[in-house]
Symmetry: C2
Subunit: 300 residues, 2 copies
Protein backbone atom coordinates (compact mmCIF):
# COMPACT_ATOMS: atom_id res chain seq x y z
CA UNK A 1 0.00 0.00 0.00
CA UNK A 2 1.31 3.41 -1.04
CA UNK A 3 -1.10 6.32 -0.63
CA UNK A 4 -1.63 9.79 0.75
CA UNK A 5 -4.43 10.71 3.17
CA UNK A 6 -5.49 14.34 3.28
CA UNK A 7 -6.00 15.82 6.78
CA UNK A 8 -6.26 19.46 5.71
CA UNK A 9 -6.84 20.93 2.25
CA UNK A 10 -7.43 24.60 2.99
CA UNK A 11 -5.18 27.65 2.86
CA UNK A 12 -4.33 29.74 5.92
CA UNK A 13 -7.78 30.82 7.06
CA UNK A 14 -9.79 27.73 8.14
CA UNK A 15 -13.26 27.79 6.54
CA UNK A 16 -16.23 25.58 5.65
CA UNK A 17 -14.94 22.84 7.96
CA UNK A 18 -11.74 22.66 5.89
CA UNK A 19 -8.48 22.55 7.82
CA UNK A 20 -4.97 23.92 7.24
CA UNK A 21 -2.41 21.76 5.44
CA UNK A 22 -1.51 18.29 6.63
CA UNK A 23 -1.15 14.94 4.88
CA UNK A 24 -0.11 11.44 5.86
CA UNK A 25 1.80 9.35 3.33
CA UNK A 26 1.52 5.61 3.99
CA UNK A 27 4.07 3.27 2.45
CA UNK A 28 3.28 -0.19 3.82
CA UNK A 29 4.07 0.01 7.55
CA UNK A 30 5.70 3.45 7.32
CA UNK A 31 3.70 6.62 8.02
CA UNK A 32 5.10 10.02 7.04
CA UNK A 33 3.39 13.20 8.19
CA UNK A 34 3.83 16.12 5.80
CA UNK A 35 3.01 19.52 7.32
CA UNK A 36 1.03 19.86 10.50
CA UNK A 37 -1.45 22.74 10.54
CA UNK A 38 -3.50 23.54 13.62
CA UNK A 39 -5.84 20.66 14.51
CA UNK A 40 -3.77 17.93 12.85
CA UNK A 41 -3.80 15.76 15.98
CA UNK A 42 -7.61 15.93 16.07
CA UNK A 43 -7.78 15.09 12.35
CA UNK A 44 -5.51 12.07 12.93
CA UNK A 45 -7.97 10.86 15.59
CA UNK A 46 -11.01 11.56 13.41
CA UNK A 47 -9.64 9.47 10.55
CA UNK A 48 -8.32 6.72 12.85
CA UNK A 49 -4.68 7.15 11.85
CA UNK A 50 -2.39 5.82 14.53
CA UNK A 51 -0.30 8.78 15.66
CA UNK A 52 2.15 6.50 17.41
CA UNK A 53 3.19 4.94 14.10
CA UNK A 54 4.42 8.22 12.63
CA UNK A 55 8.22 8.25 12.91
CA UNK A 56 9.02 10.97 10.35
CA UNK A 57 7.50 14.44 10.14
CA UNK A 58 8.28 16.89 7.34
CA UNK A 59 7.49 20.62 7.59
CA UNK A 60 7.65 22.58 4.33
CA UNK A 61 7.85 26.11 5.75
CA UNK A 62 7.15 28.19 8.80
CA UNK A 63 3.88 29.88 7.94
CA UNK A 64 1.58 28.95 10.81
CA UNK A 65 -0.97 27.07 8.73
CA UNK A 66 1.73 24.49 8.01
CA UNK A 67 3.08 23.90 11.54
CA UNK A 68 0.90 25.37 14.34
CA UNK A 69 -0.39 21.85 15.08
CA UNK A 70 3.08 20.43 15.61
CA UNK A 71 3.83 21.49 19.22
CA UNK A 72 0.48 19.99 20.28
CA UNK A 73 1.06 16.75 18.41
CA UNK A 74 4.55 16.33 19.88
CA UNK A 75 3.23 17.10 23.39
CA UNK A 76 0.48 14.51 22.93
CA UNK A 77 2.97 11.86 21.74
CA UNK A 78 4.88 12.57 24.95
CA UNK A 79 1.76 12.27 27.14
CA UNK A 80 1.03 8.93 25.42
CA UNK A 81 4.43 7.73 26.65
CA UNK A 82 5.85 7.21 23.20
CA UNK A 83 9.24 5.56 23.24
CA UNK A 84 10.24 5.41 19.55
CA UNK A 85 12.52 8.02 18.06
CA UNK A 86 10.79 10.80 16.14
CA UNK A 87 12.55 12.45 13.19
CA UNK A 88 11.57 15.98 12.29
CA UNK A 89 12.73 17.59 9.01
CA UNK A 90 12.10 21.33 8.81
CA UNK A 91 13.64 24.77 8.32
CA UNK A 92 16.19 25.37 11.09
CA UNK A 93 14.22 28.08 12.91
CA UNK A 94 11.54 25.60 13.95
CA UNK A 95 13.97 24.15 16.47
CA UNK A 96 14.23 27.52 18.22
CA UNK A 97 10.44 27.75 18.49
CA UNK A 98 9.99 24.22 19.86
CA UNK A 99 12.92 24.54 22.28
CA UNK A 100 11.46 27.78 23.65
CA UNK A 101 7.93 26.37 23.99
CA UNK A 102 9.03 23.15 25.68
CA UNK A 103 11.43 24.93 27.98
CA UNK A 104 8.73 27.39 29.14
CA UNK A 105 6.18 24.62 29.72
CA UNK A 106 8.84 22.49 31.43
CA UNK A 107 8.01 19.65 29.02
CA UNK A 108 10.29 16.61 29.07
CA UNK A 109 9.66 14.24 26.18
CA UNK A 110 9.97 10.52 26.98
CA UNK A 111 11.32 9.83 23.45
CA UNK A 112 14.20 11.12 21.34
CA UNK A 113 13.27 13.94 18.98
CA UNK A 114 15.84 14.26 16.20
CA UNK A 115 15.73 17.59 14.42
CA UNK A 116 17.06 17.62 10.83
CA UNK A 117 17.45 21.12 9.35
CA UNK A 118 16.56 21.43 5.69
CA UNK A 119 19.52 23.11 4.06
CA UNK A 120 20.35 21.57 0.66
CA UNK A 121 18.27 19.76 -1.92
CA UNK A 122 18.60 15.98 -2.07
CA UNK A 123 17.94 12.82 -0.09
CA UNK A 124 17.13 13.46 3.58
CA UNK A 125 15.94 9.99 4.62
CA UNK A 126 16.74 6.67 3.09
CA UNK A 127 16.37 2.99 3.89
CA UNK A 128 15.83 -0.30 2.05
CA UNK A 129 12.19 0.45 1.29
CA UNK A 130 12.01 4.19 0.60
CA UNK A 131 13.94 7.37 0.07
CA UNK A 132 12.75 10.89 0.75
CA UNK A 133 14.13 13.98 -0.98
CA UNK A 134 13.59 17.65 -0.40
CA UNK A 135 13.66 20.33 -3.08
CA UNK A 136 13.16 24.08 -3.16
CA UNK A 137 9.84 25.62 -4.13
CA UNK A 138 9.14 29.33 -4.53
CA UNK A 139 7.10 30.98 -1.80
CA UNK A 140 7.25 34.22 0.19
CA UNK A 141 9.59 32.63 2.74
CA UNK A 142 11.97 29.65 2.57
CA UNK A 143 9.86 26.69 1.48
CA UNK A 144 10.55 23.04 0.62
CA UNK A 145 8.81 20.31 -1.33
CA UNK A 146 9.25 16.60 -0.59
CA UNK A 147 9.34 13.47 -2.72
CA UNK A 148 8.67 10.02 -1.25
CA UNK A 149 9.99 7.25 -3.50
CA UNK A 150 9.60 3.56 -2.95
CA UNK A 151 12.74 1.56 -3.75
CA UNK A 152 12.77 -0.74 -6.76
CA UNK A 153 11.40 -4.09 -5.62
CA UNK A 154 12.99 -7.44 -6.58
CA UNK A 155 11.52 -9.48 -9.45
CA UNK A 156 8.82 -12.02 -8.52
CA UNK A 157 9.00 -15.78 -9.11
CA UNK A 158 6.75 -16.78 -12.03
CA UNK A 159 5.07 -19.80 -10.43
CA UNK A 160 3.73 -21.16 -13.68
CA UNK A 161 7.12 -21.20 -15.35
CA UNK A 162 9.43 -22.20 -12.52
CA UNK A 163 7.76 -25.61 -12.05
CA UNK A 164 9.23 -26.59 -15.43
CA UNK A 165 12.75 -26.39 -14.00
CA UNK A 166 14.51 -28.13 -11.17
CA UNK A 167 15.77 -25.12 -9.22
CA UNK A 168 16.19 -25.39 -5.42
CA UNK A 169 13.92 -22.98 -3.49
CA UNK A 170 16.99 -21.72 -1.63
CA UNK A 171 18.09 -20.06 -4.88
CA UNK A 172 14.82 -18.17 -5.40
CA UNK A 173 16.00 -14.97 -3.68
CA UNK A 174 19.02 -14.81 -6.02
CA UNK A 175 16.79 -15.39 -9.07
CA UNK A 176 14.54 -12.55 -7.88
CA UNK A 177 17.53 -10.22 -7.71
CA UNK A 178 18.35 -11.07 -11.37
CA UNK A 179 20.97 -13.80 -10.97
CA UNK A 180 20.81 -16.75 -13.43
CA UNK A 181 20.88 -20.38 -12.21
CA UNK A 182 23.22 -23.02 -13.58
CA UNK A 183 22.08 -26.65 -13.19
CA UNK A 184 24.40 -29.57 -12.35
CA UNK A 185 24.43 -30.44 -16.06
CA UNK A 186 25.62 -26.94 -16.90
CA UNK A 187 22.37 -25.64 -18.30
CA UNK A 188 21.83 -21.92 -17.63
CA UNK A 189 18.32 -20.90 -16.60
CA UNK A 190 17.98 -17.17 -16.95
CA UNK A 191 16.37 -15.21 -14.18
CA UNK A 192 14.15 -13.38 -16.66
CA UNK A 193 12.73 -16.69 -17.91
CA UNK A 194 11.34 -17.70 -14.51
CA UNK A 195 10.63 -14.34 -12.86
CA UNK A 196 8.36 -11.38 -13.52
CA UNK A 197 9.76 -7.86 -13.27
CA UNK A 198 8.44 -5.79 -10.37
CA UNK A 199 6.30 -2.85 -11.39
CA UNK A 200 8.27 0.41 -11.69
CA UNK A 201 8.76 2.13 -8.31
CA UNK A 202 6.09 4.67 -7.46
CA UNK A 203 6.71 8.18 -6.19
CA UNK A 204 4.75 10.96 -4.50
CA UNK A 205 5.72 14.62 -4.69
CA UNK A 206 4.38 17.31 -2.34
CA UNK A 207 5.07 20.78 -3.75
CA UNK A 208 3.96 22.71 -0.64
CA UNK A 209 3.06 26.39 -1.14
CA UNK A 210 4.59 27.79 -4.31
CA UNK A 211 4.11 30.26 -7.11
CA UNK A 212 4.23 28.92 -10.66
CA UNK A 213 7.87 28.19 -11.36
CA UNK A 214 9.09 25.74 -13.98
CA UNK A 215 12.37 25.26 -12.15
CA UNK A 216 10.65 22.59 -10.04
CA UNK A 217 9.72 20.49 -13.08
CA UNK A 218 13.06 18.70 -13.41
CA UNK A 219 12.66 17.33 -9.86
CA UNK A 220 9.23 15.97 -10.69
CA UNK A 221 9.95 14.02 -13.90
CA UNK A 222 7.66 10.98 -14.28
CA UNK A 223 6.29 11.29 -10.78
CA UNK A 224 3.40 8.92 -10.06
CA UNK A 225 1.31 11.33 -8.02
CA UNK A 226 2.03 15.05 -7.90
CA UNK A 227 0.43 17.26 -5.25
CA UNK A 228 0.48 20.89 -6.34
CA UNK A 229 -1.28 23.76 -4.61
CA UNK A 230 -4.10 25.66 -6.33
CA UNK A 231 -5.00 28.40 -3.90
CA UNK A 232 -7.01 30.26 -6.58
CA UNK A 233 -9.05 29.65 -9.72
CA UNK A 234 -7.54 30.76 -13.02
CA UNK A 235 -9.11 34.24 -13.08
CA UNK A 236 -7.03 35.25 -10.04
CA UNK A 237 -3.62 34.60 -11.58
CA UNK A 238 -2.34 38.04 -10.61
CA UNK A 239 -3.43 37.70 -7.00
CA UNK A 240 -1.87 34.23 -6.91
CA UNK A 241 1.46 35.59 -8.14
CA UNK A 242 1.44 38.52 -5.72
CA UNK A 243 0.95 36.09 -2.81
CA UNK A 244 3.39 33.47 -4.12
CA UNK A 245 0.59 30.99 -4.76
CA UNK A 246 -0.69 29.15 -7.86
CA UNK A 247 -3.88 28.71 -9.88
CA UNK A 248 -5.57 25.59 -11.27
CA UNK A 249 -4.09 26.12 -14.72
CA UNK A 250 -0.60 26.59 -13.34
CA UNK A 251 -0.74 23.41 -11.24
CA UNK A 252 -1.99 21.48 -14.28
CA UNK A 253 0.80 22.88 -16.45
CA UNK A 254 3.45 21.74 -13.99
CA UNK A 255 1.92 18.24 -13.98
CA UNK A 256 1.93 18.26 -17.78
CA UNK A 257 5.54 19.45 -18.08
CA UNK A 258 6.67 16.86 -15.51
CA UNK A 259 4.86 14.03 -17.31
CA UNK A 260 3.22 13.21 -14.00
CA UNK A 261 0.84 10.28 -14.01
CA UNK A 262 -1.71 11.91 -11.72
CA UNK A 263 -2.27 15.32 -10.17
CA UNK A 264 -3.78 16.10 -6.76
CA UNK A 265 -4.74 19.72 -6.06
CA UNK A 266 -5.34 21.44 -2.71
CA UNK A 267 -4.63 24.44 -0.42
CA UNK A 268 -7.89 26.06 -1.51
CA UNK A 269 -8.51 29.67 -0.54
CA UNK A 270 -11.23 30.28 2.03
CA UNK A 271 -12.83 32.57 -0.61
CA UNK A 272 -14.31 29.43 -2.15
CA UNK A 273 -17.14 27.56 -0.46
CA UNK A 274 -17.37 24.88 -3.18
CA UNK A 275 -14.49 23.24 -5.02
CA UNK A 276 -15.93 21.75 -8.22
CA UNK A 277 -14.63 24.57 -10.40
CA UNK A 278 -11.05 23.76 -9.32
CA UNK A 279 -11.44 20.28 -10.76
CA UNK A 280 -13.08 21.53 -13.96
CA UNK A 281 -10.35 24.06 -14.69
CA UNK A 282 -7.36 21.85 -13.89
CA UNK A 283 -8.79 18.85 -15.77
CA UNK A 284 -9.06 20.90 -18.96
CA UNK A 285 -5.27 21.02 -19.08
CA UNK A 286 -4.43 17.82 -17.22
CA UNK A 287 -7.23 15.23 -17.24
CA UNK A 288 -5.83 12.95 -14.52
CA UNK A 289 -6.55 15.46 -11.76
CA UNK A 290 -8.26 14.91 -8.42
CA UNK A 291 -9.31 17.29 -5.64
CA UNK A 292 -7.51 16.70 -2.33
CA UNK A 293 -10.49 16.07 -0.01
CA UNK A 294 -10.11 15.71 3.75
CA UNK A 295 -10.36 12.15 5.00
CA UNK A 296 -9.78 10.68 1.54
CA UNK A 297 -6.81 8.47 0.70
CA UNK A 298 -5.35 8.63 -2.81
CA UNK A 299 -3.54 5.47 -3.82
CA UNK A 300 -0.50 5.60 -6.10
Amino acid sequence: MFGVTILGNNSALPAYERHPTSQVVTLDEHLFLIDCGEGTQMQLSRYKIRRGRINHIFISHLHGDHYFGLPGLITTLGLMNRENDLHLYAPAALKQILDLQFSISDTKLPFELYFHSLETEGVIADNAKFSIECFKVYHRIECWGFIVREKKKPRKIDKEKIINYDIPATFYERLKSGEDYTTKTGEVIRSEDVTIPAPPPRSYAFCADTMYDERIVEKLKDITLLYHETTYLKDLEERAASRYHSTTIQAAKIAQLAHAKNLLIGHFSSKYETLDEFLVEASEIFPHTQLALEGCTYLL
Copy 2:
Protein backbone atom coordinates in the same frame (compact mmCIF):
# COMPACT_ATOMS: atom_id res chain seq x y z
CA MET B 1 -26.50 38.97 28.95
CA PHE B 2 -23.68 37.59 31.08
CA GLY B 3 -22.61 34.03 30.30
CA VAL B 4 -19.73 31.70 29.52
CA THR B 5 -19.60 29.48 26.43
CA ILE B 6 -17.38 26.41 26.60
CA LEU B 7 -15.17 25.77 23.55
CA GLY B 8 -12.99 23.08 25.11
CA ASN B 9 -13.55 21.04 28.28
CA ASN B 10 -10.82 18.41 28.08
CA SER B 11 -7.39 18.15 29.65
CA ALA B 12 -4.15 18.07 27.64
CA LEU B 13 -4.72 15.00 25.48
CA PRO B 14 -7.70 15.65 23.13
CA ALA B 15 -10.11 12.70 23.22
CA TYR B 16 -13.70 11.71 22.44
CA GLU B 17 -14.16 14.85 20.33
CA ARG B 18 -13.41 16.96 23.41
CA HIS B 19 -11.02 19.86 22.93
CA PRO B 20 -8.37 21.51 25.09
CA THR B 21 -9.34 24.44 27.30
CA SER B 22 -10.99 27.56 25.92
CA GLN B 23 -13.99 29.60 27.00
CA VAL B 24 -15.69 32.79 25.85
CA VAL B 25 -17.24 35.05 28.46
CA THR B 26 -19.94 37.32 27.03
CA LEU B 27 -20.96 40.42 28.98
CA ASP B 28 -23.45 42.28 26.78
CA GLU B 29 -21.41 43.47 23.77
CA HIS B 30 -18.05 42.47 25.27
CA LEU B 31 -16.44 39.09 24.47
CA PHE B 32 -13.53 37.82 26.55
CA LEU B 33 -11.60 34.75 25.46
CA ILE B 34 -10.11 32.76 28.34
CA ASP B 35 -7.40 30.30 27.31
CA CYS B 36 -6.94 29.22 23.71
CA GLY B 37 -6.06 25.54 23.27
CA GLU B 38 -5.36 24.09 19.84
CA GLY B 39 -8.40 24.31 17.57
CA THR B 40 -10.02 27.27 19.36
CA GLN B 41 -10.43 29.23 16.11
CA MET B 42 -12.31 26.29 14.57
CA GLN B 43 -14.48 25.98 17.70
CA LEU B 44 -15.32 29.69 17.49
CA SER B 45 -16.50 29.11 13.89
CA ARG B 46 -18.43 25.99 14.80
CA TYR B 47 -20.38 27.78 17.51
CA LYS B 48 -20.84 30.95 15.43
CA ILE B 49 -18.99 33.21 17.83
CA ARG B 50 -17.71 36.29 16.05
CA ARG B 51 -13.93 36.21 16.43
CA GLY B 52 -13.69 39.82 15.39
CA ARG B 53 -15.58 40.95 18.47
CA ILE B 54 -13.05 39.53 20.91
CA ASN B 55 -10.90 42.42 22.15
CA HIS B 56 -9.43 40.81 25.28
CA ILE B 57 -7.72 37.43 25.55
CA PHE B 58 -6.56 35.92 28.84
CA ILE B 59 -4.07 33.04 29.01
CA SER B 60 -3.80 31.28 32.39
CA HIS B 61 -0.49 29.48 31.87
CA LEU B 62 1.91 28.22 29.23
CA HIS B 63 1.09 24.53 29.06
CA GLY B 64 0.30 23.96 25.40
CA ASP B 65 -3.27 22.82 25.91
CA HIS B 66 -4.07 26.34 27.12
CA TYR B 67 -2.41 28.39 24.38
CA PHE B 68 -1.36 26.39 21.28
CA GLY B 69 -4.40 27.76 19.42
CA LEU B 70 -3.42 31.37 20.05
CA PRO B 71 -0.82 31.96 17.28
CA GLY B 72 -3.29 30.60 14.72
CA LEU B 73 -6.16 32.71 16.03
CA ILE B 74 -4.05 35.88 15.99
CA THR B 75 -2.79 35.08 12.46
CA THR B 76 -6.38 34.56 11.30
CA LEU B 77 -7.52 37.86 12.83
CA GLY B 78 -4.72 39.48 10.82
CA LEU B 79 -5.75 37.75 7.58
CA MET B 80 -9.31 38.97 8.19
CA ASN B 81 -7.92 42.53 8.18
CA ARG B 82 -8.91 43.25 11.76
CA GLU B 83 -8.31 46.86 12.71
CA ASN B 84 -9.36 46.99 16.39
CA ASP B 85 -6.76 46.77 19.13
CA LEU B 86 -6.35 43.35 20.73
CA HIS B 87 -5.33 43.07 24.38
CA LEU B 88 -3.56 39.94 25.50
CA TYR B 89 -3.01 39.15 29.21
CA ALA B 90 -0.61 36.27 29.86
CA PRO B 91 2.60 35.16 31.57
CA ALA B 92 5.49 37.23 30.19
CA ALA B 93 7.19 34.39 28.30
CA LEU B 94 4.31 34.14 25.85
CA LYS B 95 5.49 37.38 24.25
CA GLN B 96 8.86 35.77 23.42
CA ILE B 97 7.11 32.83 21.74
CA LEU B 98 4.76 34.97 19.65
CA ASP B 99 7.50 37.44 18.68
CA LEU B 100 9.70 34.56 17.50
CA GLN B 101 6.90 32.86 15.53
CA PHE B 102 5.72 36.05 13.84
CA SER B 103 9.23 37.17 13.03
CA ILE B 104 10.11 33.82 11.41
CA SER B 105 6.89 33.75 9.36
CA ASP B 106 7.38 37.43 8.45
CA THR B 107 3.87 38.14 9.74
CA LYS B 108 2.82 41.79 10.02
CA LEU B 109 -0.43 42.25 11.91
CA PRO B 110 -2.75 44.99 10.61
CA PHE B 111 -3.93 45.77 14.17
CA GLU B 112 -2.27 46.70 17.45
CA LEU B 113 -1.56 43.77 19.76
CA TYR B 114 -1.05 44.97 23.33
CA PHE B 115 0.69 42.43 25.53
CA HIS B 116 0.01 42.73 29.28
CA SER B 117 2.27 40.54 31.44
CA LEU B 118 0.61 38.94 34.44
CA GLU B 119 2.80 39.80 37.39
CA THR B 120 0.75 40.73 40.46
CA GLU B 121 -2.73 39.81 41.63
CA GLY B 122 -5.46 42.44 41.17
CA VAL B 123 -7.41 44.31 38.54
CA ILE B 124 -5.91 44.02 35.03
CA ALA B 125 -8.75 45.50 32.94
CA ASP B 126 -11.43 47.93 34.02
CA ASN B 127 -14.08 50.13 32.44
CA ALA B 128 -17.56 51.44 33.26
CA LYS B 129 -19.22 48.06 32.67
CA PHE B 130 -16.77 45.46 33.93
CA SER B 131 -13.56 44.79 35.77
CA ILE B 132 -11.28 41.80 35.38
CA GLU B 133 -8.91 40.55 38.06
CA CYS B 134 -6.20 37.94 38.02
CA PHE B 135 -5.20 35.78 40.97
CA LYS B 136 -2.68 33.01 41.57
CA VAL B 137 -3.65 29.37 41.44
CA TYR B 138 -1.40 26.43 42.24
CA HIS B 139 -0.19 24.38 39.30
CA ARG B 140 3.12 22.83 38.17
CA ILE B 141 4.17 26.08 36.49
CA GLU B 142 3.11 29.71 37.04
CA CYS B 143 -0.66 29.79 36.61
CA TRP B 144 -3.37 32.45 36.95
CA GLY B 145 -7.11 32.49 37.48
CA PHE B 146 -9.36 35.30 36.28
CA ILE B 147 -12.52 36.95 37.66
CA VAL B 148 -14.87 38.90 35.41
CA ARG B 149 -17.16 41.20 37.41
CA GLU B 150 -19.91 43.37 36.07
CA LYS B 151 -20.09 46.83 37.63
CA LYS B 152 -22.97 47.72 39.90
CA LYS B 153 -25.78 49.04 37.73
CA PRO B 154 -27.86 52.15 38.59
CA ARG B 155 -31.32 51.78 40.19
CA LYS B 156 -34.29 51.56 37.83
CA ILE B 157 -37.26 53.95 37.73
CA ASP B 158 -40.37 52.34 39.28
CA LYS B 159 -42.90 53.32 36.62
CA GLU B 160 -45.93 52.54 38.77
CA LYS B 161 -44.80 54.77 41.62
CA ILE B 162 -43.21 57.68 39.77
CA ILE B 163 -46.49 58.70 38.07
CA ASN B 164 -47.78 59.77 41.50
CA TYR B 165 -45.19 62.56 41.65
CA ASP B 166 -44.47 65.56 39.49
CA ILE B 167 -40.77 64.95 38.76
CA PRO B 168 -39.27 66.19 35.47
CA ALA B 169 -37.90 63.33 33.30
CA THR B 170 -34.60 65.21 33.07
CA PHE B 171 -34.04 64.35 36.75
CA TYR B 172 -34.55 60.57 36.28
CA GLU B 173 -30.86 59.81 35.80
CA ARG B 174 -30.04 61.52 39.10
CA LEU B 175 -32.85 59.59 40.86
CA LYS B 176 -31.41 56.33 39.42
CA SER B 177 -28.01 57.15 40.89
CA GLY B 178 -29.65 57.58 44.32
CA GLU B 179 -30.21 61.35 44.51
CA ASP B 180 -33.46 62.64 46.10
CA TYR B 181 -35.68 65.21 44.36
CA THR B 182 -36.96 68.39 46.04
CA THR B 183 -40.15 69.90 44.57
CA LYS B 184 -40.81 73.66 44.21
CA THR B 185 -42.90 73.51 47.39
CA GLY B 186 -39.94 72.03 49.26
CA GLU B 187 -41.24 68.45 49.42
CA VAL B 188 -38.46 65.85 49.31
CA ILE B 189 -39.15 62.73 47.19
CA ARG B 190 -36.67 60.04 48.08
CA SER B 191 -34.92 58.12 45.33
CA GLU B 192 -35.68 54.82 47.01
CA ASP B 193 -39.44 55.60 46.96
CA VAL B 194 -39.58 55.87 43.16
CA THR B 195 -36.78 53.53 42.01
CA ILE B 196 -36.00 49.84 42.28
CA PRO B 197 -32.51 48.69 43.26
CA ALA B 198 -30.51 46.96 40.49
CA PRO B 199 -29.79 43.29 41.12
CA PRO B 200 -26.42 42.66 42.80
CA PRO B 201 -23.53 42.61 40.29
CA ARG B 202 -22.71 39.15 38.96
CA SER B 203 -19.24 37.65 38.73
CA TYR B 204 -17.53 34.73 36.97
CA ALA B 205 -14.33 33.12 38.22
CA PHE B 206 -12.11 30.86 36.09
CA CYS B 207 -9.68 28.92 38.30
CA ALA B 208 -7.60 27.46 35.45
CA ASP B 209 -5.53 24.37 36.25
CA THR B 210 -4.90 24.03 39.96
CA MET B 211 -4.40 21.59 42.75
CA TYR B 212 -6.74 21.81 45.76
CA ASP B 213 -5.62 24.88 47.66
CA GLU B 214 -7.83 26.84 50.04
CA ARG B 215 -5.72 29.96 49.58
CA ILE B 216 -7.82 30.75 46.50
CA VAL B 217 -11.09 30.81 48.47
CA GLU B 218 -10.79 34.38 49.73
CA LYS B 219 -10.64 35.62 46.12
CA LEU B 220 -13.81 33.76 45.26
CA LYS B 221 -16.15 34.89 48.04
CA ASP B 222 -19.80 35.03 46.94
CA ILE B 223 -18.93 34.48 43.29
CA THR B 224 -21.98 33.96 41.06
CA LEU B 225 -20.47 31.24 38.88
CA LEU B 226 -17.25 29.45 39.76
CA TYR B 227 -15.39 27.36 37.16
CA HIS B 228 -13.06 24.89 38.87
CA GLU B 229 -11.17 22.09 37.17
CA THR B 230 -11.91 18.44 37.98
CA THR B 231 -9.38 16.51 35.95
CA TYR B 232 -10.10 13.32 37.94
CA LEU B 233 -12.86 11.58 39.84
CA LYS B 234 -12.53 11.36 43.63
CA ASP B 235 -10.77 7.97 43.70
CA LEU B 236 -7.72 9.48 41.97
CA GLU B 237 -6.99 12.15 44.58
CA GLU B 238 -3.34 11.12 44.85
CA ARG B 239 -2.78 11.21 41.12
CA ALA B 240 -4.51 14.60 40.99
CA ALA B 241 -2.19 15.99 43.67
CA SER B 242 0.95 14.59 42.04
CA ARG B 243 -0.01 16.34 38.77
CA TYR B 244 -1.20 19.57 40.42
CA HIS B 245 -4.80 18.91 39.42
CA SER B 246 -8.08 18.50 41.36
CA THR B 247 -10.89 16.02 41.83
CA THR B 248 -14.68 16.44 41.84
CA ILE B 249 -14.84 16.56 45.62
CA GLN B 250 -12.09 19.15 45.81
CA ALA B 251 -13.74 21.45 43.26
CA ALA B 252 -17.04 21.15 45.14
CA LYS B 253 -15.35 21.94 48.47
CA ILE B 254 -13.84 25.12 47.07
CA ALA B 255 -17.28 26.18 45.80
CA GLN B 256 -18.75 25.46 49.23
CA LEU B 257 -16.06 27.36 51.14
CA ALA B 258 -16.39 30.33 48.76
CA HIS B 259 -20.20 30.42 49.13
CA ALA B 260 -20.39 30.33 45.34
CA LYS B 261 -23.87 30.42 43.87
CA ASN B 262 -23.09 27.90 41.11
CA LEU B 263 -20.20 25.62 40.16
CA LEU B 264 -19.09 24.67 36.66
CA ILE B 265 -16.61 21.78 36.34
CA GLY B 266 -14.32 20.89 33.43
CA HIS B 267 -10.80 19.94 32.23
CA PHE B 268 -11.74 16.28 32.22
CA SER B 269 -8.97 13.73 31.80
CA SER B 270 -8.95 11.79 28.53
CA LYS B 271 -9.11 8.65 30.72
CA TYR B 272 -12.87 9.22 30.94
CA GLU B 273 -15.10 8.59 27.96
CA THR B 274 -18.31 9.59 29.78
CA LEU B 275 -18.73 12.42 32.25
CA ASP B 276 -21.87 11.67 34.27
CA GLU B 277 -19.92 10.46 37.28
CA PHE B 278 -18.20 13.84 37.57
CA LEU B 279 -21.58 15.49 38.05
CA VAL B 280 -22.77 12.85 40.52
CA GLU B 281 -19.70 13.16 42.73
CA ALA B 282 -19.45 16.96 42.76
CA SER B 283 -23.21 17.42 43.32
CA GLU B 284 -23.08 15.31 46.48
CA ILE B 285 -21.01 18.06 48.09
CA PHE B 286 -22.24 21.07 46.13
CA PRO B 287 -25.69 20.60 44.56
CA HIS B 288 -25.59 23.60 42.23
CA THR B 289 -23.00 22.02 39.96
CA GLN B 290 -23.01 21.72 36.17
CA LEU B 291 -20.69 19.97 33.71
CA ALA B 292 -18.89 22.32 31.31
CA LEU B 293 -20.03 20.94 27.95
CA GLU B 294 -18.63 22.16 24.65
CA GLY B 295 -20.94 24.45 22.72
CA CYS B 296 -23.11 25.17 25.80
CA THR B 297 -23.51 28.63 27.30
CA TYR B 298 -23.99 28.94 31.06
CA LEU B 299 -25.83 32.12 32.07
CA LEU B 300 -25.00 33.86 35.33
